[in-house]
Amino acid sequence: MRLSTPRGPLLIALCCVGLLGWRPAWADALPMTEAAPGVYLDQGVQEVAAPENQGHIANIGFIVGNERVAVIDTGGTYAEGLALRAAVRRVTDLPIAYVILTHVHPDHVLGAAAFEQDRPEFIGHANLADALARRGEHYRERALADLGEAAEGTRLVVPGSSVAGTRELDLGGRTLELRAHPTAHTNNDLSILDRQTGTWWLSDLLFVDRIPVIDGSLLGWLRELDTIDQGPALRLVPGHGGVPADRYAAVAAQRRYLQAVAAGVRAVLRRQGTIEEAVDSVGLAESGNWLLFDDYHRRNVTAAFVELEWE
């Protein structure tokens, strides 16, 4: 037994038509930049997912070894996944052996089906499959509703491999170290360290310029930021925004925001205030420091409130 909807067959029909006749507006291949030698990155736009940006709002990319390629995140739609795949093929003919999904959010995982043809090992945090079960269908439906034809063909891929602690991937002369983090941005954050270049792909454990989204644990995330500061990396790749020139300053900005939310919510809780009061008053001084503040800040305060009220 599984959920189905009366419009299912219609959607499937539309998808097939879409795949035959439709090409993504970014002309087949994403324009990648090299964050470090062999580490290719395309920055998503700092906007909310919409038809104009085709859902390409997250940083996605790939790392090339001597023998194999690892893709890191796949974008917000099937079409974006295809464009990333085309970008890999512009750089190398080596097999795409791994597709790493850094966490459950739709702008990172919904392009995964574009790589099924390569038969890679899809890898995620040990909690990712459960999170996809809980949220994936909702995200897919929202992508179809919010992005229209840009999201045609979008399907979920549940990773067959999971990481609970750490795992090494051998790309041939290049080793990636995957690390499953305790609950922070989400309960399924996975980061990737490329030892060869000292590049630590943190994905949404780090937001640069764009307001961080709390969807796991505010306190857990603050703890994890301290761990990140102690990590041996030359550069950090955030899930949104550019590679920061000063890795510590980027983490500090995010820490400052999260601490402001925590302090504000605790003050409201001390006087038995409500979520509504917290949402209207907490953290507003941070407004000028972040892109998309109005889109996500109230939600962050809500999430912080229901976490901190149990302290």
Binding site: M1, R2, L3, S4, T5, P6, R7, L10, V48, A49, H105, P106, D107, N127, A129, D130, L132, A133, R134, R135, G136, E137, H138, Y139, E141, R142, L144, A145, D146, L156, V158, T183, T186, N187, V213, D215, G216, S217, Q272, T274, I275, E276, V279, D295, Y296, R298, R299, V301, T302, A303, V306, E309, W310
Partner: protein, 287 residues
């Protein structure tokens, strides 16, 4: 089982629609009668017709704006946690005292989020909880007064944006502390003066509607279904709840403390048969 025709809903980010509604009825063990009725042109209206018929038969609730105030946010910021409060506007002592209060989210798979019952030992002045809202939806409060009349107020709530989802952030953490309760009282408790109290219980409130592609099974339903709160042995209210209530259910309610120290006791049952019970002291502030 009869069919429910709800084709091509314009808002495709809705829950999976009528089939999920039917499935939810099955999973939730006949909570709902089987829906039948005319198919209306406007799917939102058709949906409400189904819900209204299932809950109230052929009775049409009257405009309740003189009787009730429903407070909801303009937008569901976090789809998993949307605060809702309901205030009675009329004098509760008169013949129109509100006995039952239905909270309904049209587009959720189980639209009836909760029914509060007030036995009338203390007049109530406000009740608040948190609900899951993942699609653009009407949210309704329907009051049944002691003379049997129905009154309704309706707010429209926009869905949350981005990656917000109406589900748990950390299921393992929620399960680890299941049944832990908390009562929040103001610092000052004055005899005879109404105060706002908040009751919380840790519970994942799993819907049973989420399909795990790996195990090929639904994540089992596990949710709070009944909350009873009494003060000094007298019932204050009970709530029949289900999966449209947020994880770690919260209810904020009014309480008029007695002169002497007393006890507030809470009993909770969930859908798997677990029972939780706790008694909290309510002690007037000194002086």
């Amino acid at each position: 089982m009869t069919t429910v025709s709800e084709s091509a809903h314009p808002d495709a980010c809705a829950w999976p629609g009528a089939w999920a509604l039917l499935l939810a009825m099955v999973l939730l063990g006949g909570l709902w009668p089987v829906l039948a009725g005319p198919v209306l042109a406007n799917p939102d209206e058709a949906r409400w017709e189904e819900i209204r018929t299932a809950l109230f038969g052929d009775r049409l609730p009257a405009d309740g704006r003189d009787l009730l105030q429903l407070n909801t946010p303009y937008r569901a910021e976090d789809a998993a946690v949307v605060p809702v409060s309901i205030k009675p506007l009329a004098d509760q002592a008169a013949g129109r005292r509100i006995q039952d209060l239905y909270l309904i989210i049209d587009m959720n798979p189980v639209p009836l989020a909760t029914v509060f019952h007030f036995p009338g030992t203390q007049a109530w002045d406000e009740i608040a909880t948190r609900i899951r809202v993942n699609a653009y939806s009407n949210v309704r409060a329907v009051a049944r007064t002691e003379d049997g009349q129905l009154y309704m107020v309706v707010n429209y709530v926009k869905a949350s944006g981005g990656c917000s989802a109406p589900s748990l952030k950390d299921p393992a953490a929620a399960a680890a502390q299941i049944g832990r309760m908390k009562l929040v009282l103001p610092e000052r408790v004055s005899p005879g003066e109404r105060l706002a109290a908040q009751f919380l219980i840790k519970h994942p409130n799993n819907s049973g509607l989420q399909f795990d592609q790996v195990s090929r099974q639904f994540i089992p339903a596990d949710y709070v279904k009944h909350i009873a709160v009494s003060y000094q042995g007298q019932p204050l209210f009970t709530a029949d709840t289900n999966i449209s209530i947020s994880e770690n259910p919260s209810v904020r309610f009014g309480l008029i403390p007695a002169a002497a120290a007393g006890e507030l006791s809470v009993q909770v049952q969930d859908s798997t048969g677990r029972a939780f019970e706790q008694t909290f002291p309510v002690v007037p502030s000194g002086g």
